[in-house]
Amino acid sequence: MSDLDELYQEVILDHNKSPRNFRPMTNANRKSEGYNPLCGDHVTVYLQLVDGVIADISFQGSGCAISKASASMMTAALKGKTEKEAEELFHSVHRMLTGQSTGEEAAVGKLRILAGVAKFPTRVKCATLAWHTANAALKGAKEPVTTE
């Protein structure tokens, strides 16, 4: 598989075309916005935390296939996780996307499909934007997140 094919795998293209949990959430109790000032991409992540568990998560915004797929897969992965599990996953995924991953395949599970991004340094920020934003929402951050 070429680097490009690895980046744009079927699963990623599918998430781009029909992103999961791509909707606003009226009863969200956590919400954060993220911007990539370099390219103008932005994402809003909505969370509904119930007793420390992510009962519901959704996102909205505009961005490239990588950022959309990453956000879509993220919502699927985080739903039902506790705050602590979510944060651990955030760190594992972050290490994988930035090419520092060592033996965390089990931790990231299906999200391994995003690993090809690490070979495209100019695209890492696209893939991490939603994750940083979700992490900020979990922490109750007031300021929008930027990738710079």
């Binding site: 390219c39 103008g40 991409d41 490239c64 296939a65 990588i66 959309k68």
Partner: protein, 415 residues
């Protein structure tokens, strides 16, 4: 030759010209480089590279302060460059050429020296809706400082300035007009001469941001009639870190210095400093000497070209690219002004510019993908970003073909 423009155009040998640019012959990602990101920065001819190397190898010394041979030589070369730039844009005098770090700094200089001094609460600064951030933010900053207000000339759906709206915006509060000469995101050529005429009729001085114009058009600041003209060196085949502010001497004389130290001083005591004459009043500290000399070499290179032929080649390339890209399924060109220079910006409805950029890059094709530091332009057209192919005279039809082939690969990936 003027009687035979067609022959002159045919005489432009793009393949010969490409020999002057070393980087155009390298491979990237196993493919020949197709460099279509000239709006971001242009490539450098060998003569510019050699001039800089020679300066640092054999001539390096500070300017304006040495009594020794090398310093005199460096000073002469640096000042000779200033004269070359004067001639290049047909300014009236060499001291109207201020060397700065780039187009952005040139605009900031006018904002912080001219506007901050002479504008007051309630005054208005007029910019256009197709400016990039460098010609918006410095004005916003000075507006906040003095209590002035920024007003925006709308553009139509082709990406052309609406002159009637501009006329309507002008009033007795208008104290400065700042417009681009060529839009970096759309390629539109703004009728700056007309803008100046209308603004001057209201007594408002005009700054023209020429960063995207000087690589494509013969610029004559006196014919345009503008009061300030700002541009960078690196977009006109010169080094980075050097640019020019042209200002009419009368205005520059009235303006206070922008930064303090170095050559901008004639006499310093702790009570009072006497500022140096133009242009040194605005050139604090040791300047980018190699950059200034290198930019002079870029001017020499450009002046040796047959510009009638260059412009004809670029026009033909733009026509060819516009037509070729229009045939790509689903592709929509943003910016369809009648007068355009060297830029084709485009979008696909379902494919983001970054994905386009990454796939093109795998084919060795370098384009810009994003908002091109012109977010208001993107908002105007309701798109998050565009893919931009920006040309220089050294680009070829074959390179446009490579771009189109790359776009077909994009379509294949995104099925």
């Amino acid at each position: 030759m003027e009687a035979l423009p067609k022959r002159a155009a045919a005489a432009f040998d793009v393949y010969r010209v490409r020999e002057d640019f070393p980087v155009l012959h390298r491979m990237v990602r196993g493919k020949p480089l197709v460099y279509l990101d000239n709006g971001a920065t242009s490539q450098k001819p060998r003569s510019v590279i050699d001039t800089i190397t020679r300066y640092y190898s054999l001539e390096n010394a500070n300017v304006h302060r040495g009594v020794h041979y090398l310093s005199a030589q460096a000073t002469d070369a640096y000042e000779a460059s200033r004269e070359k730039l004067r001639r290049f844009i047909n300014a009236g005098a060499a001291h109207e050429i201020i060397f700065v770090r780039g187009g952005t700094e040139a605009i900031n200089l006018v904002a912080q020296s001219y506007a901050r001094t002479f504008l007051k609460e309630g005054d208005e600064i007029v910019v256009s809706a197709m400016e990039h951030h460098s010609n918006i933010v410095p004005w916003q900053m000075v507006c906040a400082q003095v209590g002035a207000r920024l007003r925006v000339i709308p553009i139509n759906h082709d990406g052309e300035l609406v002159l009637e709206e501009f006329e309507r915006l002008l009033n007795e509060r208008t104290k400065l007009v700042a417009v681009t000469h060529v839009s970096n995101a759309l390629g539109s050529v703004v009728p700056v001469k007309e803008v100046v005429r209308l603004a001057h009729a209201r007594g408002a001085p005009v700054l023209v941001d020429g960063a995207q114009a000087v690589p494509h058009l013969k610029v004559d600041v006196r014919e345009i009639g503008c009061d300030f003209y700002a541009f960078s060196g690196h977009k006109m085949f010169g080094p980075t870190g050097i640019g020019v502010l042209y200002g009419r001497a009368e205005l520059l004389e009235a303006m206070p210095p922008y930064q303090g130290g170095g050559d901008m001083i004639s006499l310093v005591t702790f009570e009072k400093t006497h500022y140096n004459v133009l242009p040194y009043k605005f050139e604090a500290g040791t300047p980018h000497i190699a950059g200034g000399i290198g930019l002079g070499a870029a001017v020499d290179y450009l002046e040796a070209l047959d510009w009638t032929a260059v412009e004809a080649h670029e026009r033909e390339l733009l026509r060819y690219a516009t037509e070729a890209l229009s045939s790509v399924p689903g592709l929509r060109i943003i910016g369809t002004a009648r007068e355009k220079a060297g830029v084709v910006s485009f979008v696909f409805d379902d494919i983001h510019a970054h994905d386009v950029g990454t796939i093109l890059d795998q084919e060795g094709v370098a384009v810009r993908a994003g908002h091109h530091c012109a977010m208001p332009v993107m908002q105007r057209f309701g798109v998050p970003a565009t893919t931009r192919a920006s040309f220089a005279f050294y680009n070829t039809r074959e390179e446009v073909d490579s771009l189109v082939r790359g776009l077909h690969r994009v379509l294949k990936v995104f099925g």
